[in-house]
């Protein structure tokens, strides 16, 4: 009997019916739906015992107390330690992500910069160390320490001291401005000149205290002088819009009102400048009226202690001259005598080392050109101030090698010849040495939270290779702590907020235990003496100032617009941010990315650009594509750019933002592209 089509159809039909009356189709439907819920492409959460580890945040020097919530030994969140009253910033909240940064350097590697691309070739630690030239009389080494005050800093200084002709270099800011702290807590009137006082300029805890005082109406008055209606300007009691780049003129005019030229210790040239800079003469250049200037001055003198802060974009300064003027104005307002500004003490050196055996820090800009054969850049991941130009200048034209110890591929590290990555934050013991705006110096130790990634090398090992004296990282820190304990000064503050004088701590060992459990040692500075050497004006500075003021008075070119770079201060202490920062930059627009150029509606109209358009920003030789954002918060005639590390550039080590290379108030052109 032949098999007909009908038979096959019947068979198939019945088989289908049989399957329908089995769990197969129904369970498949269910399982496929579950597959869409739990498929392998959806990351699985970690499982395991949960622990809460008290520590501090060592991402930036501020050292805020944190509690790490760890799952199976890996931190899943960093929270402000309860009871400490010290909140964190977004960088701290995501500090535990940094170990998994996509630009993490897996191990020692050679770096090649080919055009825009950065190529790395890994090599073993031994090979990497072998590539370091031995340091002898001919060849000098420069160690760039971007986090001075740490245990390793002492070792660096000792090493440099033993090798004459070598340099222990620190960023210029650390050498100058950062020695003076501001007692914001005690001040009643604060004038913030182009300073994001309430937007991350200082630690979150101190900002929060200012906000708290303001909302309690305790008499705190915040004045803001800023070209843009910045966040600080918005939150301030009074805002004075000034022309971009006129900060120095404003300060000189205020010095004039304070009769600073009558002060005996003023240099004659400076005295002359102040004397002739009457409010009437410079008001127009600043973009305000003389009455407004007098009014601001009245406010400053009405209720003391008064403070003038000129922090620039972030914790870095506007420029050295402005810093000096601010220091003199503060002094004129009596801040030095009433303790509103103080000279921050230095952290005691490690046990076994003596201050006199250590090299003095050289500001990086003071290192002579073409003088070093080996550059070691440490703490690169923890800042973004330094430009490659400031380093390359110092290199000996012959054989020279630049070694970065950065755990991530930062903009600077991508220019180095060799990277010997140190552990990422929270992979080993970390240190916090205190915020640059604070009146106190601090020292805190953060515990390792992550399992340490193989390939990272403690900086002590690199230094030990050069000096021949190897010390363990933890041992170096213990020595530092012992040094602090030996000083017998200051107090420790535990995460729950209680404080103990160091004198009542039994020994270096118990200080170490306390610090490794989240306590922080602090030592308040004395009122700043009349002479903070670094802030005294010298003749050349005065000349520069005079030139600038006359340039400003001339009005500059009116056809161009001024570039005002701004940085969200916390990011200046972290050159690579957690990828999660896309939430603030790309995903909410709360902070502008480096490609955003904000302008006033009138300026946009004059330049022929629209909101959201892509335009070309040209400043001197520099040119860059920017995305225009039209904002009513800005004065016409300026363009605001985001400076600092590119917060969203975590995918490739692209060149830093345009704004980083532009000085404040630089004339620029904005054109439709």
């Amino acid at each position: 009997m032949p098999l007909t089509r009908r038979d096959i159809l019947r068979f198939a039909g019945a088989a289908t019916a049989g399957i329908v009356f089995s769990p197969l189709p129904w369970k498949m439907l269910d399982d496929v739906a579950i597959w869409t819920q739990t498929g392998p492409w959806i990351p699985k959460v970690p499982r395991g015992p949960i622990s809460h580890v008290p520590s501090i945040c060592s991402v930036c020097p501020a050292g805020c107390p944190v509690t790490a919530r760890c799952v199976a030994g890996v931190p899943s969140s960093l929270r402000a330690a309860s009871g400490s009253g010290q909140p964190l910033c977004p960088i701290g909240l995501t500090g535990h992500h940094l170990a998994y940064h996509p630009l993490r350097v897996a191990g020692p590697c050679l770096v090649e910069h080919r055009g825009e691309k950065v190529l790395t070739t890994s090599l073993s630690l031994d090979e990497a160390l072998r590539r370091l030239p031995s340091v002898d009389g001919d060849r000098s080494v420069m160690i760039v320490d971007q986090r001075p005050g740490r245990a390793i800093s002492d070792r660096y200084r000792a090493f440099v001291r033993q090798h004459p002709g070598s340099f222990y270099a620190v960023p210029d800011d650390d050498a100058s401005m950062r020695t003076v702290g501001y007692d914001l807590e005690r001040a009643h009137t604060i004038l913030a000149v182009s300073t994001p006082l309430l937007d991350g300029w200082t630690t979150p805890a101190r900002t929060a205290r200012l906000i708290e005082r303001r909302s309690k109406n305790d008499g705190l008055r915040i004045l803001a002088a800023d070209a843009a209606r910045s966040r600080t300007a918005t939150l301030a009691d009074r805002w004075m819009p000034i022309r971009p780049g006129s900060e120095a003129a404003l300060l000189v005019a205020l010095l004039h009102l304070a009769h600073a030229h009558r002060q005996p210790d003023m240099t004659p040239s400076m005295r002359a400048i102040i004397e002739r800079t009457t409010p009437e003469r410079v008001a127009a250049a600043i973009g305000v009226t003389p009455v407004q200037l007098r009014h601001v001055y009245e406010k400053l003198t009405e209720r003391g202690p008064s403070l003038v802060v000129v922090g620039g974009d972030g914790s870095n300064s506007v420029d050295a001259e402005t810093d000096r003027l601010a220091f003199q104005l503060n002094r004129a307002l009596g801040a030095a005598s009433n303790g509103a500004i103080r000279q921050r003490p230095a952290i005691p050196v490690s046990e076994g080392l003596r201050e006199r055996d250590l090299a003095v820090a050289t500001p990086l800009s003071s290192v002579p050109d073409a003088s070093v054969a080996l550059v070691i850049i440490d703490g690169d991941e923890g800042t973004c101030h330094l430009s490659w130009e400031s380093i390359v200048r110092t290199l000996h034209p012959g054989a020279s090698i630049v070694v970065s110890l950065s755990p991530v591929l930062t903009a600077l590290a991508s220019h180095a010849d060799l990277i010997i990555p140190s552990p990422a934050p929270f992979e080993s013991f970390g240190e916090a040495t205190g915020d640059g705006t604070d009146i106190a110096c601090r020292y805190g130790v953060s515990r390792p939270l992550h399992p340490r990634r193989p390939g990272s090398v403690d900086p002590e090992l690199v230094l030990g290779h050069l000096s021949g004296q190897v010390i363990e990282h933890e041992a170096a820190l213990r020595d530092k702590v012992a040094g602090i304990w030996a000083s017998r000064r200051g107090q420790i503050r535990t995460p729950d907020g209680s404080t103990t004088n160091l004198t009542s701590v039994e020994g270096a060992g118990s200080l170490w235990t306390a610090l490794s459990e989240g306590a922080v040692w602090t030592l308040e500075g004395a009122p700043a003496s009349a002479s903070v050497r670094a802030l005294e004006s010298d003749a050349s500075a005065t000349d520069r100032l005079a030139a600038r003021l006359s340039e400003l008075a001339a009005g500059g070119a009116t056809s161009t617009i001024a570039v005002v770079p701004t940085t969200w201060a916390p990011v200046t202490s972290c050159s690579r941010l957690s990828p999660l920062m896309t939430k603030l930059y790309q995903e909410s627009g709360l902070r502008p990315t480096s490609e955003v150029a904000a302008v006033a509606p009138a300026t946009a109209h004059a330049c022929g650009v629209e909101d959201g358009a892509v335009a070309e920003l040209r400043a001197g030789e520099q040119s860059s594509k920017v995305k225009v954002r039209v904002s009513d918060s800005l004065a016409p005639g300026m363009v605001q750019l985001s400076a600092g590390p590119d917060p969203v550039g975590f995918r490739s080590p692209e060149p830093p933002a345009v704004a980083n290379a532009l000085p404040r108030g630089r004339a620029a052109e904005l054109r439709k592209s």
């Binding site: 959460v45 909240l93 995903e587 509606p601």
Partner: protein, 251 residues
Amino acid sequence: MPARYGMVIDLDRCTGCGNCTVACAVENNIPPGPPGVTDRTGITWMRVYEADNGEGFPETQSAFVPVMCMQCEEHTPCVSVCPQNAVEVDPETGIVGQIPERCLGCRYCMAACPYHARYFNWWDPKWPEGMEKTLNPDVSPRMRGVAEKCNFCHGRLHTAREKAAAAGNAAIDPADYVPACVESCPTQAIVFGDLNDPASEVAKLSRDERAFRFLSRLGTEPKVSYLSSRAWVRSLADRVLARDQKEEARG
């Protein structure tokens, strides 16, 4: 009595620092935005907007407004529109819960939400390699193609409940249940608690004369209130108010 969790956000204290947004993302396992993400395709359960008074420079004034799911109590717009019960109001807490595993991804709820507080997973959730080890075990990551939103850190409520249950208690200790944004706010601008507890700070503040709620005339009874002593900020509550305020300022 069941709880009615709510929030009061003091706009005079908010500095727009973004802590809440970031802490929220860490707590709730929100992945970093992929390349090409924008403020319109990203996921920020807690999002800080900058609002201004509409005047030109230098009369501009601005305020930062953190916006998250307002946990509407009545006619909850997202609940009634969801075709498959992926959203509901928990009668015990008043929290509007979204279940991504049930969600079909039709985005009707997003169109319906007056606060734009709902977010869609346009991409697969991806963390840089290894970073998924830092995920919060109390919150499951969502998959591509579903909507999600703030649920007042429900994972923390679980933790608090578990702690209470282990101690044999039915009620949680309010101190154990604090959402991440509240906890992380440096200026303590956000107050969280049970609106049904008249003694709670949040209940008191929500009745403050500075208090207002956004779009309250829609009748959805949001459980998040805002505080401001500035009249123009309060007038941001809805467009009729904003118009009246503008007219008042002019006339």
